[in-house]
Amino acid sequence: MVAIAEAAAPTAGDRRQRARRTTLGLMVLTLVAAWASLATGAAEVSLAEALGRLARGEPLTLHQQVVLMDIRLPRLATGLLVGAALAVSGAVMQGLFRNPLADPGLVGVGAGAGLGAVTAIVLGGFLPASLAALTGTYTVPIAAFLGGWAATLILYRVSTRAGRTSVATMLLAGIALGALAGAATGLLVYVADDQQLRDLTFWGLGSLAGASWTKLAVAGPIMLTAMAGTLWLARGLNGLALGEAAAAHMGIAVQRMKNLAILAVAGATGAAVAVSGGIGFVGIVVPHLLRLATGPDHRFLLPNAALLGASLLVGADILSRSVIAPAELPIGIVTALLGAPVFLWILLRRRGVLDL
């Protein structure tokens, strides 16, 4: 007994076991949310029966094919990826800025990506034919990525001196960037035609209604690549929590890590914004809840944030489709209604620490 007790690793203060169990729980939650999402909707269709047909090797009925494969499944896949991308972007950005209040949506990165996307939607027609042919369906996601990247870079430059980020500067710079991007977007709206205008309005509130396999084929790989890239960031972000100098002393190539983090945030946020518009608060609420539950170790925080973000957004999408069915709410409204109070609660709890 004594030998066993001595051989066992110290457990006081060790939250890795809890984090691993949380990962398993979140996987189950994601599956449940996915099932519920496929089963929910205006059209009558039995998921069990459709699966039964697939299992027996029979083709789906036309009705099942259209409702499940062409409408609900791309929407589910988009919801999962966008939710994961937003939550992971938030966690990475918070690690990069060394601050739990950083969020792509709050500090203008989402607005920058939005400006990029709107520019591409409205002015895309003016691209030289050769360039348009080259970028094709990638134009909007690429423009969103560039917009998000520029915004992240500007924000980092403005708010960080010698590796220290000022919260006040970051939030205020975020407001300014958001306002600037909003104004530029407003200008573009003047030149938009009626169809573009309808697209823009709905898109601006954030929605998964426009999800399609075509859009996902472009934005999906960008989000997946960006999220996979963050696996290499986890150790660096842990070190960065101790400060830039300490991270370097612990063997982390800090500058390279920061560049990679900014690219990942811009890629994930940009692609998410390109397919679904501005969906707020996922990036701040999800990592915050997980840090409370299992601690800030990014090796667990990042994958768990992807899972919780995915299931949360899919859940919000189910709500947005069922509350006023057969009409639907923009999902951005649902996440804001759920997320904004949580954000305020975080601010209240941090009152003493947040010296602006």
């Binding site: 690793a9 110290p10 006081a12 203060g13 060790d14 939250r15 690690g95 060394r98 601050n99 739990p100 150790r235 842990n238 070190g239 960065l240 929590a241 101790l242 400060g243 100098a245 300490a246 370097a248 002393h249 612990m250 063997g251 982390i252 190539a253 800090v254 840090r291 601690g295 800030p296 170790d297």
Partner: protein
């Protein structure tokens, strides 16, 4: 051997270190002393490669500025004068980050983190959040983290080095002694220790070699008995300092004589403190 020749650091338009020579040997504790703003922290940051410096720099034969961060991390650990933590890690998690930076993982990292915590008397605090510790406890947790990174005083590349910037400034006396023992043990086992200190008596008990800085230059370097003398210290610290020799155990006590500070603004009769951080 850690050697710097003609080390010059300019920050902005100011020259902070001005052609400084520095030497430290593995197996020894080298203590850097000097008044506030004399460049102690800047010297540490230049020696560890944190900031750019002109001049020659050699860590056991290689220029540390040419090494990759992870190569350097295996050779030396650095405890900064001021340290913050952005997220609510537990004490154990913080120390384990050090063990992992030193190349350990899994159970080995846990075991080393536990041992490092014991070494600074923080075993019982492993599960607490670092951000909720007192200043002195945080300093000891940081020391444990750095120690866990370069736990073995000698590695395949040669001796390992501990850089400690004011490691005991916020500690009570017993924990100051514990940290001094830790530094001495590390050196006796073949590692090198370079520490910035303010307490000159404590410096005398631990230092194999003392380097005295004044306005970005090393004005004296050598064994304690050579450097910690009134004639050497007084012009630098600008007050009278009595150096008293005790016999049991043999040690030096360096203590300021009240009312002798000649700093601008020091009124006669007002006791000046020579120990401010």
């Amino acid at each position: 051997m850690l050697e710097a020749r003609d080390l010059t650091v300019r920050l902005g338009r100011r020259t902070i270190l001005d052609g400084l020579d520095f030497l430290a040997h593995p197996g020894e504790v080298t203590v850097i002393v000097g008044p506030n703003g004399s460049g102690k922290t800047t010297l540490m940051r230049a020696l560890t490669g944190e900031i750019a410096a002109e001049g020659r720099l050699s860590l056991d034969g290689t220029d540390p500025r040419g090494l990759r961060p992870w190569e350097l991390a295996r050779r030396r650990g650095v405890m900064a004068q001021f340290a913050g933590l952005a997220f609510p890690f537990t004490v154990l998690e913080v120390v384990r980050l050090g063990a992992e930076a030193g190349g350990q993982s899994g159970d080995a990292a846990d075991a080393r983190a536990g041992a490092a915590l014991r070494r600074v008397d923080l075993e019982g605090h492993a599960a607490r959040l670092y951000q909720e510790l007192s200043g002195g406890e945080q300093a000891r947790a940081q020391l444990a983290r750095v120690l866990a990174q370069v736990w073995e005083p000698e590695g395949p590349e040669g001796p390992r080095w501990l850089f400690l910037d004011e490691p005991v400034a916020s500690l009570d006396v017993a924990h100051q002694l514990q940290v001094m023992d830790l530094a001495r043990d590390y050196a006796r086992a073949g590692g090198g220790v370079i520490a910035v200190m303010h307490d000159l008596s404590l410096t005398a008990t631990i230092a194999d070699r003392v380097v005295l800085l004044d306005e970005g230059r090393a004005v004296a370097a050598g064994p304690s008995e050579e450097v910690l003398r009134s004639a050497v210290l007084e012009p630098v610290y600008r007050c009278r300092l009595d150096v008293i020799r005790l016999d049991d155990p043999p040690r030096l006590i360096v203590t300021p004589r009240p009312g002798t500070a000649t700093l601008a603004g020091a009124a006669p009769g007002i006791t000046a403190s020579a120990t401010a951080g």
